[in-house]
């Protein structure tokens, strides 16, 4: 019996709804990429050591607050754009196509920097662990290259770490980080428990810019929630909720953990202690109180967390390049995928080659893996993402200024303007204090070299946009509108119909 009248429930809609994601899954996907232990054990300690600022704990909380405000407009706009998740599509629809292409170039550089910098942390921590526990001496760059080889192979084979394994690892990481924090707070240095490093006064101190961008770097990855907007049960609320939860949980964890570090060493000694022990600091501090087993577990989770972050950022870059290649914003060859695995093959290989060149370069230059590769390069990546978030915030304002699309004032104007001002302020302070961030002399050319790389990428992007406008107006017209709107992205677009079925 068939009927053309609408049945009460739609079989199609129900079947498809069953495979959709809830809030918890989305939170897990993005937080796993953020890899909490990488930040609490690696990012925060390096931040103390290199910037010399004791305001790192309050910086994490302040950045969480800014990002929560940023998320309001960002999530609101994600409901109205396709190709959500790529900052450049927001920016090209809000600020114009040339800005969009420039943003795409900045994004490629920034996410590559995040990924490649993590190799420094992975190599150094793994080599240190092998040396300390097994007495095997392996150079950091050999460990990093071993990690690189695994990521390169897994990237092309498109093997992600299984979602359940990732969730368990994430929960274990959070548990360990929280346990360490509690242990450190329970065993304070002479001064006892003090909240001085959480004092908002730090936000107006001279060195705060360096601390803030260190914190921003720790949050990179949370912006991926909107990628899943089309796959959630209730896109309107699920994504917003997941984004706020991810920001709040990571913010609280990072802030608490960094504060606990200052308690265990005493706020006045944290910088010296971090400089002495580097990424080992957190383990050194808790070792007397929790025993070797838990410390080993923490070490191993630290290493796996770094690896998960490496793989996740590798996939991010591969997909970014694929999406740019598919829309022909960058060479179309990058849009090639592996037939058998569906991996964005060309994008993945490009990223791996780039990472290899940089790794070998750092190894040959005998650079320090933690300071020069892990901290300098990932923080530069964080700076790039900060630039992208500032531009995106401004793009949200412009986007809704043209058409309200039924969004309330807070989503359209108030929050995005607030976020633009706050992010712009952080950006200004960061660039102004980049010498402190790198721990180099204020007159050093390096302090300009890192931020200038993004200016260079942006200029290249603007030139490229101009060339596209002249050479490929069809591509130019659809920049940022997603593959469905871009005729160049699909061989079945346009052209006159001819062959018809004769049956």
């Amino acid at each position: 019996m068939t009927t053309t009248k609408p049945v009460r429930t739609s079989n199609v809609a129900n079947t498809l709804a069953r495979s959709r994601l809830g809030t918890a899954s989305v939170v897990f996907f993005v937080m796993a990429a953020a890899a909490p232990l990488t930040v609490t054990a690696g990012g925060a300690t390096s931040g103390f050591a290199i910037t010399g600022s004791t305001g790192i704990p309050i910086a994490y909380l302040a950045v969480a607050a800014i990002l929560a405000v940023f998320a309001v407009g960002y999530v609101a706009m994600s409901r109205h754009v396709v190709n959500a998740g790529a900052f450049y599509s927001y920016i090209s629809q809000g600020l114009g196509r040339p800005a969009g292409v420039a943003a795409a170039f900045i994004a490629v550089l920034a996410y590559n920097a995040m990924q490649i910098g993590l190799y420094g942390g992975f190599g150094a921590v793994l080599s240190g662990f092998l040396d300390q526990r097994f007495g095997v001496s392996v150079a950091w760059w050999l460990c990093a290259l071993a990690g690189w080889a695994m990521v390169a192979v897994l990237g092309v084979l498109r093997v992600d770490i299984n979602g359940r394994v990732l969730a368990i690892m994430l929960l274990a990481e959070i548990a360990i980080a929280a346990l360490f924090a509690v242990v450190m707070v329970a065993h304070p240095a002479e001064g006892g428990i003090t909240f001085s490093t959480l004092s908002p006064g730090f936000l107006f101190s001279a060195w705060i810019g360096a601390a803030l961008v260190t914190a921003v770097t720790g949050f990179v990855g949370f912006e991926a929630t909107v990628v899943f907007s089309e796959e959630t049960r209730d896109p309107k609320r699920t994504i917003a909720r997941a984004t706020y939860i991810a920001v709040a949980v990571t913010g609280a964890l990072y802030g608490l953990s960094a504060w606990a570090l200052t308690i265990a060493t005493g706020p006045d000694n944290i910088v010296a202690a971090a400089q002495e022990h580097s990424t080992e600091l957190i383990f050194t501090l808790v070792q007397p109180h929790v025993g070797q087993f838990v410390v080993d577990l923490g070490h191993m989770l630290f290493i796996t967390s770094l690896f998960a972050a490496l793989l996740s950022f590798h996939h991010t870059v591969g997909r970014y390049l694929f999406s740019l290649g598919r829309e022909h914003v960058q060479p179309g060859g990058l849009g090639n995928t592996s037939r058998r695995t569906g991996a964005p093959k060309a994008g993945s290989i490009t990223q791996s080659v780039l990472a290899f060149v940089v790794l070998v370069g750092f190894a040959l230059a005998r650079a320090d893996p933690i300071v020069h590769l892990f901290f300098w390069v990932t923080v530069t990546g964080g700076l790039g993402v900060l630039i992208l978030m500032t531009l995106t915030s401004a793009a949200v304002v412009c986007f809704f200024a043209r058409d309200r699309r039924g969004e309330p004032l807070w989503h359209r104007i108030a929050a995005p303007v607030l976020a633009t001002v706050a992010l712009g302020g952080v950006l200004y302070l960061t660039v102004d204090q980049f010498a402190i961030l790198l721990g180099v002399d204020p007159a050093s050319p390096l302090r300009w070299a890192f931020p200038a790389s993004f200016a260079f990428a942006a200029v290249l992007g603007l030139i490229w946009a101009g060339l596209l406008k002249t050479w490929r107006p069809d591509v130019y017209d659809t920049i940022g509108l997603g593959a469905n709107a871009a005729p160049a992205a699909n061989p079945f677009a346009d052209a006159a119909p001819m062959a018809e079925s004769r049956s």
Binding site: A13, L16, E231, R340
Partner: protein, 211 residues
């Protein structure tokens, strides 16, 4: 009988072992598109504004086509988009086509094992020549730049949309790929709309990959 879905199934699976030549999502979406393409070609359904509409509700002779058409008719009032239908039909399409081949005696079932554990079912072609025929025919025609009939042209379109064309034209010069691109552009509008969304959906699957 015009059985585009059978041909696509042959093309997308190894002619000897029955193992897939594409990643799972591309097989699912490609098979779903092939089923819809059969109904479009027999003018049972049409495409209007990227939505599937029913043109002819008389049941097709083939049991599988009958089943798919019934599903489209049952939801006709909702006029789902092509993308929705691809996602929905994709969940069962490869298995359904394999069962049709099984009923016709073209394949037999074998347990697929990994480390001694059964992880699934393989549909192994009974006759390699039958299974390899669509590939051989299409590959020859395309490499010689010969004009294609409607049915092979649809199959070529599905191959291009799903990424199988790199296998089909392995080692062929760039002009042959251009020839394929030019040829599929001549397909009629509903078929091109279907293939457009198939290609886009498979591309999106690359982006939204999750475990």
């Amino acid at each position: 009988m015009f059985a585009l879905a059978d041909d696509f199934y042959w093309l997308s699976h190894h002619d000897g072992t029955g193992k897939p030549r594409l990643h799972a999502r591309a097989i699912e979406l490609g098979c779903a598109a092939a089923l819809l393409a059969e109904l479009i070609s027999s003018r049972h359904i049409g495409v209007e504004d990227d939505r599937i509409t029913v043109l002819d509700s008389r049941p097709p002779a083939d049991a599988l086509m009958h089943l798919i058409l019934d599903q489209v008719i049952a939801e006709a009032a909702r006029a789902h988009s092509i993308r929705t239908w691809l996602a929905f039909l994709g969940q069962h399409a490869p298995g359904q086509i394999a069962m049709r081949l099984l009923r016709a005696g073209h394949v037999h079932m074998e347990a697929q094992r990994k480390l001694g554990r059964q992880v699934g079912v393989l549909y192994v072609p009974v006759d390699v020549n039958v299974a390899a025929w669509p590939w051989a025919m299409l590959s020859q025609h395309l490499r010689r730049h010969e004009p294609l009939e409607y049915e092979p042209l649809c199959l070529a379109g599905l191959a291009l949309a799903s990424g199988l064309h790199t296998y089909l034209l392995d080692g062929a010069p760039a002009e042959t790929f251009d020839y394929l691109n030019r040829s599929v552009r001549t397909l009629w509008t509903p078929m091109r709309a279907l293939l457009f969304h198939t290609h886009a959906a498979i591309g999106d699957a690359v982006l939204a990959h999750r475990t």
